[in-house]
């Protein structure tokens, strides 16, 4: 069972919290709980929440965590939850220096959750909400049986990535009511009070263009949905023939997917920011002399890189430090960009001292994509030894493809776009006027995995009940993959 902090840990908490506040971090109230390894593995398997709806996949996560901690492959030090108050779990067996480091790290995350714009619309009472979800799912299990409910959750999870990650921040579709009143069948151009001005204000070409727009608008309304809809789950909730309980479970899965989405959008920044702060707080304030070796060991373990993977902790912290350094020295702006003199660049220091301020601003207004896009410089890529790797079919191995800056940056951005997931919209829910659902995959050079697509379509069909299809590309050609409930077909189409 979770234990509250020992008096010693409580003292440490007060101490670290004081440092964090003095550095200007702005966070929710922080609650720490102390757990045993098994309990921490359990909570981690549940995605950080002690109560989740029953499902085997938490068991699977647990199996992996338990095995890897048992065999000493890896170890979870801490977990933080985006919630108000924020909850974090400490591992009971950790040494004191580890607990300090973890606490400092946690205050970094907490500040990020509270201030970064991507988290603005997340539910800050998610602890309670998750527990409610669990209760609701359990009630349905009692009513209609575990097999049915679990099978449906399996199907829903198969579609959980089909959300619109920016949906909380923008309005994709105009409000239908307003649209109705504005409906015009004839374009009239700009209102003109004096007749003689009409040809000037509304030349013929302009009126024609307007007319065309009105007509396409009308055309669109005959289509359903009018515009491609990225939030496939929402579309299914509204239009798929679901039973009450199915509707409820699908909406739970969708809500949780949206809750976790910002964490996927800011993995590099979030870990980088927390690491920046644990490092700053520990090395300038909290560390005692005798703790320094253990701290260094732990910190370097967290920052370790492997060739085939990017470590978000490492990339994040280095990029924040680089930004801080550049803004301290004034290495930005027109003058800096246009300076070709290597020697001048190397000794460039305008003594602005604006670094700290800048990184606070960055942590508020950026997500991983904009963060990388705006601040990843060629110098940084060289210093961090970034490269693109590809699979060499001939040699059947992974190998380094290039270190060219543009390619590295593009690949990195591509892998972050939509969490590296394919971008998929609902484009037609009444295909051929037969009620068939058609999705469209925005092909960005990466094909869909055909086997996975096949199985996913099958699950989608189980929800939609009518045949479903997805338009995509395979090896450069347009493809339509379709599942009609009994069999799977694939045909070439013009895109």
């Amino acid at each position: 069972m979770p234990k509250s902090l020992t008096p010693r840990l409580q003292d440490l908490k007060v101490e670290i919290e004081g440092y964090a506040r003095a550095f200007g971090l702005d966070f929710f109230d922080q609650v720490f709980e102390v757990l045993s390894t098994e309990e921490l593995n359990m909570v981690a398997a549940y995605g950080g929440f002690p109560t989740r709806y029953p499902h085997w996949r938490w068991g699977m996560e647990y199996e992996q965590l338990a095995k890897s901690s048992e065999y000493g492959l890896s170890k979870i030090y801490e977990l933080v939850i985006n919630n108000n108050p924020s909850y974090a779990y400490l591992l009971e067996a950790n040494a004191e220096v580890d607990q300090k480091l973890v606490m400092a790290h946690v205050y970094g995350h907490n500040d990020f959750f509270k201030n970064n714009f991507t988290f603005k619309f997340t539910n800050r009472k998610m602890m309670d909400e998750m527990a409610n979800h669990a209760t609701r799912v359990r009630r349905w299990i009692d009513k209609i049986g575990v097999e049915k409910v679990e099978d449906f959750i399996d199907v829903a999870l198969s579609l959980e990535n089909l959300i619109d990650q920016y949906a909380p921040h923008i309005k994709r579709n105009p409000d239908p009511k307003i649209e109705k009143t504005q409906q015009n069948t004839r374009a009239e151009g700009i209102r003109v009070d004096r007749d003689y001005m009409r040809p000037y204000m509304n030349p013929k070409e302009f009126v024609e263009a307007q007319q065309k727009k009105v007509e396409t608008e009308k055309q669109l309304q005959k289509k359903f949905p009018e515009r491609p809809q990225r939030d496939v789950l929402a579309f299914l909730l509204e239009h798929a023939p679901l039973e009450d309980w199915e509707h409820e479970i699908l909406s739970i899965v969708r809500e949780e997917a949206y809750y976790f989405a910002p964490q996927g959008q800011t993995k590099i920044m979030n870990e980088g920011w927390a690491s920046y702060w644990h490092s700053t707080i520990m090395t300038t304030r909290a560390l005692k002399d005798h703790e320094i070796i253990d701290y260094a060991d732990h910190h370097s373990g967290t920052m370790a890189t492997q060739q085939g993977k990017l470590n978000p902790y490492k990339l994040g912290i280095e990029l924040f430090r680089d930004i801080e350094d550049r803004w301290n020295k004034g290495r930005f702006g027109k003058e800096w960009e246009e300076c070709d003199d290597l020697r001048a660049r190397r000794s460039w220091d305008k003594k602005l001292g604006a670094g700290r301020e800048k990184i606070f601003e960055v942590r508020k207004h950026y997500n991983d994509i904009t963060f990388i896009d705006a601040f990843l410089t060629p110098e940084f890529a060289i210093e961090q030894k970034l490269f693109v790797f590809n699979f060499n079919d001939k040699k059947n191995t992974w190998e380094i493809a290039t270190r060219e800056f543009k390619k590295v940056k593009n690949k990195l951005l591509q892998s972050l776009t939509n969490f590296g997931q394919p971008v998929i919209d609902v484009v037609d829910a009444n295909h051929d006027n037969k009620g068939e659902l058609v999705l469209s995959h925005k092909h960005d050079g990466q094909d869909l995995d055909p086997n996975y697509a096949r199985e996913t379509l099958k699950n989608l069909q189980a929800l939609w009940k009518r045949p479903v299809a997805i338009m995509t590309r395979g090896e450069g050609k347009g493809l339509m993959l379709r599942h009609d409930g009994t069999q799977f077909t694939e045909k070439k189409v013009e895109l």
Binding site: P54, F389, P422
Partner: protein, 369 residues
């Protein structure tokens, strides 16, 4: 203590074992069971179920970090984008301490998981090597072997005993009598020798899948026996109607076609043992894998005769694994069971598919011979 996760965990394990939810069983992946990386490292198999998503095909490449030039091969493949999506819990301060396990540890894990007994060695008295180990402590010795810790310990003891030790001003001065030195001891290390002789049927009926099973199984056997013996030797024999000795590479990759005469392999095995591995000082483990389709009953009789008179007398254990092939599995294991089933030196196992490898390893190694 019972945790809330136990129920979900139990359910997952049941799915993996195919007890419930057959529709999910097909998504169960065993991971790389033996991705032998580098020299002697390997990853532990952890089954997982990949719920299907729309996702990008594998081998898309990505961005990495580290040394190397374009064209250089890099380590294991990348994590697929989105792999971590299930673990969305933010700030899991989880870092990989050590990705790889050494073969020794692996063998220990294997032994634990399968509850394998340690193997009884034989011939151990005969071959002995001596080794020098610095484990002792003495009051005399060369200065270069001074043991500071023990020296100061002695000095502290003496100062406390004589009352000259002041905890507030802990200064310890060793005198000559306090000084301790390391000394060596001679240790007799019994050395045991072991050889595995792998024999595989490569006749037309053994397909790639069957070979894969043999490959995985022999890897684990190798791993376990290596943990039990230093300097394990391995020999490889393939046979269809005739047998020949080959190297490891060929052993796993050859595909011949033709009839099967198992006796040919056993004859060769016998000759190898007689020539190179006197039974008095060697632990000998022949393993034979086949789909059990022998050419004739006559040949089978000859095999049993060979085993009885020549091979079984010399070996620790003779193991025969029958792999199920697309053409069904043969008669051979039944014949062996009938004639040699009561010999404790014979261990027989039927391997239906990859999942059966574990239980088969246990069949082979569970006796601790």
């Amino acid at each position: 203590m019972a945790l809330r996760i136990d129920r979900d965990h139990g359910r997952f394990k049941q799915i993996v074992r195919g007890k419930i939810k057959q529709n999910l069983k097909k998504y169960v992946q065993q991971g790389e069971m033996l991705g032998k990386k580098g020299k002697d490292f390997i990853s532990i198999p952890v089954p997982f179920i990949d719920v299907p998503h729309f996702k990008h095909g594998s081998r898309q490449g990505g961005v990495g970090q580290g040394e190397g030039n374009p064209g250089d091969q890099i380590g294991q493949g990348p994590q697929q984008p989105g792999d971590g999506s299930g673990k969305a819990g933010e700030g899991e301060g989880q870092h990989v301490l050590e990705v790889d396990v050494s073969l020794d540890e692996l063998a220990a894990i294997l032994g634990e998981e399968l509850q394998l007994p340690n193997i009884e060695h034989r011939g151990s008295e005969k071959i002995v090597t001596t080794r020098i180990k610095y484990t002792g402590i003495n009051t005399v010795g060369p200065q270069s072997l001074r043991h500071f810790k023990r020296t100061f310990k002695e000095a502290l003891k003496r100062q406390i005993a004589t009352g000259t030790y002041n905890p507030d001003k802990p200064i310890i001065i060793p005198i000559k009598q306090d000084i301790r030195f390391r000394t060596f001891k001679l240790e007799n290390l019994p050395e045991t020798n072991a050889v595995i002789i792998y024999m595989m049927d490569v006749s037309g009926s053994m397909g790639d899948e069957q070979k894969e099973i043999v490959r995985i199984e022999s890897f684990w056997l190798d791993t376990w026996l290596k943990s039990q013996y230093k300097g394990l030797e391995t020999r490889f024999i393939i046979h269809d109607a005739v047998a020949r000795e080959v190297d490891r590479e060929t052993f796993f990759h050859t595909r011949e076609s033709g009839g099967t005469m198992i006796s040919s392999a056993y004859k060769l095995c016998r000759d190898i043992i007689k020539a190179d591995y006197p039974a008095s000082s060697w632990n000998i483990y022949p393993f034979h894998f086949s789909d059990g389709d022998n050419w004739s009953a006559d040949d089978t009789r000859q095999c049993i005769e060979l085993l009885k008179t020549d091979i079984l007398t010399d070996v620790n254990q003779f193991a025969y694994g029958q792999v199920e092939s697309p053409y069904g599995s043969g008669q051979f294991i039944k014949d062996l069971r009938e004639h040699l089933g009561d010999s404790e030196k014979v261990s027989l196992s039927e391997i239906a598919d990859k999942d059966a490898i574990y239980s088969s390893i246990k069949d082979f190694l569970g006796k601790g011979r």
